[in-house]
Symmetry: C2
Subunit: 145 residues, 2 copies
């Protein structure tokens, strides 16, 4: 696992952005790292509460937003519905299983992003690409959910 993906990285990144490390931010980030099933803010709230019962939902939203700003977490929106959060920083696509509702990370080979970017006509300057598959995954597929 890359060194960046642990809690020490958090205070580092926060400091870099002139922000403070707080218990709320740490627990929110820990929760995302611990169960990488692309939870919604509400789901994060529920999980964080078992550790920090007095945290408020607004703070969970604030913390998630902060983590996204610091590039430690990606916010993902397939379809209408709540935003989901993903601490996987490697370039990856999302596979959305329409049967189970679960979302799987699919690592992207380095050359693919190039190839995808190459379809952009002149004048388009892309800073990021998102790829979302929809379909059905075999039961046997190993996954972090």
């Amino acid at each position: 696992m890359p060194a960046i993906e642990n809690s020490d990285a958090l205070s580092q990144r926060l400091a870099d952005s002139g922000l403070r490390s707080t218990p709320q931010r740490e627990v929110v980030y820990d929760v995302l790292l611990k169960k990488r099933d692309h939870p919604t803010a509400d789901e994060v709230y529920a999980r964080v509460r078992s550790e920090l019962p007095s945290i408020s939902l607004a703070t969970v939203y604030n913390c998630l937003e902060t983590l996204v700003q610091c590039d430690l977490v990606r916010a993902v929106n397939f379809e209408r519905g709540p935003t989901r959060y993903c601490p996987n920083l490697r370039p990856h696509a999302h596979f959305h299983d329409e049967q189970t509702g679960k979302t799987h990370d699919i690592d992207l080979p380095p050359d693919l992003l190039e190839k995808v970017n190459s379809i952009l006509p002149r004048g388009y300057n892309s800073s990021s690409v998102e790829i979302i598959f929809r379909g059905k995954a075999a039961k046997t597929v190993a996954s972090i959910e």
Copy 2:
């Protein structure tokens, strides 16, 4: 322009699904065809009203949903915020200009979808792929918005 992208196609597709052609559905579809700037339901509502002043917002939502069901229109969700609607049926990606907020369609070369699909590990069965670019488009880029 492909024959499917006109209003006659609408009653055809509706009939195929056992649905009726109505003035509301026609105007909603016309509005989407006429100005392809990926409008939200509210924006569609505003445009339709100039032609059909008594239509209700609920009906606009209903019609849009119907058109999506008939595969005449794609619903698109980048980021949180309202769903946007797109009558472009060709395989295409979306380029979201972060400066202007405008969304541009980018046609996909036939081999790209193959290439993209090929990164899926065994066991993943994709029924559709969505590709979203974010970035900045040069002012000079020609576009239907």
